[in-house]
């Protein structure tokens, strides 16, 4: 892949993304939703199990906004026929996918970083005895949460290219994220519960937020994020394959 | 209730753009009214206001004497073609018309009838998303014909059609008008309406520039214009200019002369010893007449600018 071409494609994608209707509102929404839900969780929490995890619980809601951002950047192009223009300007499909992925990752990393730092700061203020901002496990939780948001965004990007329709793509990604924890909640069998928590993109990925009781987790923090990365990789491969095989 | 559309003083502003600026005209039954103007002159907006899709800031539009949104079975009063892309790609052509028919309580047989009328009977059960531009155009016209309405309103129906398709639409429009229907057809290319339109409404910048019969327009523009072929154009031009004629070169050895009659030209040239090969009355095309008209409109606009936006 030619780096000059990729660089230009990235610039083009960035211009498209930032001029997308509601782009700014989505970024504001990501930060606001994440911080608000985190603050609500911390406020009035009596028993603090894992302070970092509690403060960062807003990520579960904020990721939905990241999903919309990624899906719209694809479905908007297919809906309007803009994709034909995009592909005539950058005929290498992989370059288009890579450029979109890079631009979305950077955007969500920065925005998600603001959201995660804000959540931790509020948690620090609201929670008695939690979370220390500088120790290693808190840093891992913070960095991991940002990476989690980026991986979820890329997952949505892959699914977006695979199904092209915005509604179906969002529905698929959100179902994939939220159904595993819902199932974990109703399943009574402990073995199955543990397995669901290990393979589900959201429960496994969010294991990276854990700062206490690591030995009792169904899956280790970085391993969990790795599971999410596998999901994301699979979605991007699928999306890329569809993009290459099918006409625009 | 008869056909026809009345448009009275429509004004509509989109942000900084005054899209309609006092648009008024009438579409009468039994003839094809051409609705002409450059892109952005307000043709589509006018049509959207007629259909009640856009609300005007001022003025009103009546279909057969009633506002469109008050009609109980609107497709039986006015058939329209606005946007040929307005269809769900995965639906078949027949199903696309079927749901439209259901809104008006029309039977399925009517759907099959109009599909035959526009020549889509064989493609009726194919996904409309796979249609060519010409087929979509035909499907859109089928939708307009569905309610057998006394009035039709078609926005740029010639767009993207091959010559055969253009010929087909022209014949269709003429026959619809001959049946006594009022037909409004917009176009940004005057040449497309040549031989079709009986009446012209020319618009520019959101208002009517000319509202005239095609015959009178052509006659008015053509009056007194004579083509002169001569081997000595310079001499001829001097002689004629001296007599008060306006002379413009229109070829290597041809001149367009206005302001003096053909007989006067002959006697002037003969009297001054200028030889000429041919003298003929000029046949103007609709396109030329239109350019003439819009040139005047631009001048009119420039001179009346202080009053614009009144």
């Amino acid at each position: 892949m030619n780096t000059v071409v990729l660089g230009r494609a990235c610039r083009a994608e960035w211009t498209k993304l930032r001029t997308e209707t509601g782009f700014r509102w989505l970024l504001v929404g990501l930060v606001a939703v994440t911080v608000a839900v985190g603050a609500a969780s911390c406020d009035g929490a009596r028993s603090v199990g894992d302070p970092a995890r509690l403060a960062l619980s807003g990520v579960t809601a904020g990721q939905a906004v990241a999903v919309v951002l990624a899906v719209l950047s694809v479905s908007g192009e297919y809906g309007s026929g803009l994709i034909q223009l995009t592909l005539s300007a950058v005929p290498a499909r992989t370059t288009v996918l890579a450029a979109k992925a890079a631009v979305l990752s950077a955007t969500v990393a920065v925005t998600g970083g603001v959201a995660v730092l804000g959540s931790l700061l509020l948690g620090h203020l609201l929670l008695a005895g939690g979370p220390a901002l500088t120790d290693g496990s808190s840093l891992r939780a913070a960095l991991g949460s940002v990476l989690y948001l980026v991986l979820v965004t890329l997952l949505a990007l892959g699914v977006g290219f695979a199904v092209r329709d915005g509604g179906v793509a969002s529905g698929t990604v959100l179902a994939l994220l939220y159904l595993f924890p819902l199932l974990t909640h109703v399943v009574t069998d402990p073995w199955l519960q543990r397995q669901l928590a290990r393979v589900g993109p959201m429960p496994a990925g969010l294991a990276v937020q854990a700062t206490t009781g690591l030995d009792r987790l169904p899956i280790g923090p970085w391993t969990g994020l790795g599971v999410l990365a596998l999901w994301t990789g699979a979605a991007l491969l699928l999306g890329g394959a569809v993009l290459r095989r099918r006409g625009a | 209730m008869d056909g026809g559309i009345e448009i009275e003083g429509l004004r509509k502003r989109f942000g900084a753009t005054q899209a309609l600026d006092g648009m008024s005209f009438v579409v009468r039954p039994g003839r094809v009214t051409g609705f002409v103007g450059p892109n952005g002159a307000g043709k589509s907006t006018t049509m959207r206001v007629v259909l009640g899709l856009d609300a005007p800031d001022a003025g009103r539009a009546l279909v057969g004497g009633h506002p469109y949104r008050s009609l109980a079975e609107p497709l039986r009063r006015l058939g329209s073609l606005l946007d040929t892309g307005a269809l769900q790609p995965s639906r078949t052509a027949r199903n696309h018309l079927l749901w439209l028919a259901h809104t008006q309580g029309l039977p399925q047989s009517r759907v099959d009838h109009v599909l035959g009328q526009v020549g889509l009977a064989d493609a009726a059960r194919r996904r409309a998303g796979g249609f060519s531009l010409g087929m979509r155009q035909r499907l859109g016209i089928a939708a307009a014909l569905l309610g057998d309405p006394p009035t039709l309103m078609l926005d740029e129906p010639f767009n993207g059609l091959d010559p055969e398709g253009i010929r087909w639409i022209r014949a269709l429009l003429v026959s619809l008008a001959a049946e006594g229907r009022a037909v409004l057809v917009s176009s940004h290319l005057m040449s497309e309406l040549e031989g079709v339109a009986d009446h012209l409404v020319v618009v520019g910048r959101g208002r009517v520039v000319a509202d005239t019969g095609v015959r009178e327009l052509l006659d008015g523009v053509a009056a007194g214009r004579v083509i002169l072929r001569t081997t000595s154009p310079t001499a001829a031009a001097t002689v004629l200019a001296r007599a008060g004629a306006t002379v413009r070169p229109s070829g290597p050895d041809a001149l367009t002369v206005t302001g003096v009659s053909g007989e006067a030209i002959v006697s002037l040239l003969a009297g001054n010893g200028v030889s000429f090969a041919e003298l003929s009355a000029h046949r103007v095309t609709l396109e030329e007449a239109y350019l003439e008209l819009t040139r005047e409109a631009v001048q009119f606009r420039a001179s009346s600018d202080p009053e614009a936006g009144r």
């Binding site: 609500a40 969002s170 819902l182 | 609107p74 809104t103 039977p107």
Partner: protein, 516 residues
């Protein structure tokens, strides 16, 4: 001729025509029809995942007893009983209710004296010793005074409060006359106060003294439970009427049941206390005579909600369909054609709303009607307890699931009109329904915010699926995390319906005001 018939057939009013047209629009897009089928299938299939079990109950701890009202019950107690063949009365003095509690933090074997609030020592009349039988009882309790209870779900407070002791004994009496049994209490055995009347089936019944005790429940913090055993001391029972045979002892329900357990080192049993006045009894027991509830008092079991977990898949799929049904009009300018055919914009929106609501209701109620019996069959196959609920409650859960999806579909449709993009609309729908549910029930949020989420957001509507009622006479942790919604089933649904209607009104307003 065909034409005239069809014209007559389609004579109905404009609204019906619009509805007919929207239905044609809906059914002629294959993806939407397949989506509906997929939503129903996914809802049903999810119950198979939800009920997977690695067979942790071989041989079958099996089904919980079912009470006369059809609900799952606990019916485990220590019982000293005789047969009463006709009318008669039983009077006894309770002189003590004491007990032993496991210390939840003290490790195995550490116990402390004490009774749980709903530990019971009293008298009971029941036609059979089979768990789940009808009964009427008057009983002293650990912390709720004298109560008269019958058929598990009914509970009445008497005027006597406090715990019986030798200094302040509590006198209890049950009088059977025909089908009616009337309960009384007294402080001195002379002056009696009537508490109430309930009925038991005619014929021979077992009547006598019983003791039982539910496990101790930690209502704050994690909400666990720990074993508790109670002992009641009774004076000599005074009998009148048609009694047969002698006193016999039974541990009804074999064990302490789902909501109780014996403190290690204790067992159920009785002792006859001889004294000058005759024979009294000391009875030791654990368990409960009460409906099963969710949370720590319920123990592990499948509930109706477990079987309906697929509703979430159905909601997302139908939400996508409804949002697209609106957003597809905005893509490609189809809305212009729709409104040219039906200029009354409110009517178009109304027809769309009726249509998606009807489709979603059919899919939801149909899937739920298949899911519940399927889930129960699966649970029995893996020998897992099921908290049975009465048929009326099951019907409510089935119809409620349909209505829940119908309201969610209307909400999605309205969001589609307001936001004009199906991707944004479906995300908004999930964010206001599934996400609050997950945050509240997943135990991520503390109880306070969780309850507010389930009161205010459209997620409140999931309450309509809640099949387990809360009972004052059963101590548990009635929080969202244990499946208890802060609002009653129809109240919660009303919140969701309110949101859906408000969104629909906003969509209608915007549709009328906005240029199409």
């Amino acid at each position: 001729m065909r034409t005239t018939r069809e014209v007559r057939k389609m004579r109905p009013t404009g609204s019906m025509r619009t509805l007919h047209a929207e239905w044609t629009k809906f059914r002629t897009v294959r993806g939407w029809v397949l989506g509906c089928v997929g939503a129903a299938l996914a809802t049903v299939l999810f119950v198979l995942i939800g009920t997977v079990s690695s067979n942790q109950h071989p041989g079958g701890a099996a089904a919980l007893p079912v009470g006369p009202g059809g609900e799952a019950v606990d019916d485990s107690y220590s019982f000293v009983h005789r047969t009463l063949t006709g009318d008669g009365s039983l009077t006894v003095q309770v002189t003590a209710l004491t007990g032993v509690l496991s210390d939840p933090n003290g490790g195995p074997g550490r116990t402390s004296p004490g009774v749980t609030p709903w530990a019971k020592a009293g008298i009971i009349v029941t036609p059979s010793l089979t768990p789940g039988s009808s009964y009427v009882a008057v009983t002293a309790t650990g912390a709720h005074g004298v109560r008269m209870q019958d058929d598990y779900v009914h509970d009445r407070a008497a005027d006597l409060t406090g715990v019986p002791s030798p200094a302040t004994p509590q006198w209890l009496r049950l009088v059977r006359a025909g089908r009616n049994v009337t309960g009384y209490d007294s402080t001195d055995g002379t002056h009696w106060t009537e508490i109430g009347t309930a009925s038991v089936p005619g014929g021979a019944v077992q009547a006598g003294l019983f003791v039982t005790s539910p496990a101790a429940v930690q209502t704050d913090g994690g909400g666990g439970s720990s074993p508790a055993t109670a002992t009641g001391t009774f004076g000599r029972p005074a009998l009148t009427g048609a009694w047969q045979g002698g006193w016999a002892y039974a541990q009804v329900g074999q064990d302490a049941g789902a909501s109780g357990s014996y403190v290690p080192g204790t067992t159920g049993g009785y002792r006859a206390n001889g004294d000058g006045a005759g024979v009294g009894f000391s009875i030791t027991g654990a368990g409960d005579i009460a409906p099963v509830v969710g949370g720590p008092a319920g123990g592990p079991a499948f509930t109706v909600e477990t079987f309906l977990v697929g509703t979430f898949v159905g909601l997302i799929v139908l939400g996508v369909l409804a949002a697209q049904f609106a957003a597809a009009e905005y893509r490609r300018g189809l809305l212009g054609l729709t409104l040219a055919a039906t200029p009354k914009r409110g009517r178009v929106l109304g027809a769309k709303a009726v249509l998606v609501a009807a489709v979603a209701f059919v899919v939801g109620a149909g899937a739920a009607a298949v899911t519940l019996p399927l889930g129960e069959a699966r649970a029995h196959a893996v020998h897992f307890a099921v908290l049975t609920v009465p048929a009326a409650e099951q019907l409510r859960a089935v119809l409620g699931t349909g209505l829940l999806l119908a309201a969610a579909a209307v909400l999605a449709l309205s969001l589609g009109v307001l936001l004009r993009r199906s991707a944004t609309a479906i995300t908004a729908l999930v964010a206001v329904t599934v996400l609050p549910y997950l945050l509240a029930l997943g135990g991520m949020l503390p109880t306070g915010p969780a309850q507010w989420l389930l009161r205010l957001t459209p997620a409140a509507g999931f309450a309509v699926q809640q099949a387990l009622p809360r009972y004052e006479q059963v101590l548990s942790v009635y929080t969202p995390a244990n499946g208890y919604f802060p609002l009653p089933p129809w109240g919660g649904f009303a919140v969701l319906a309110g949101w859906a209607l408000a969104a629909l009104a906003a969509a209608a307003f915007v549709l009328r005001r906005r240029d199409a």
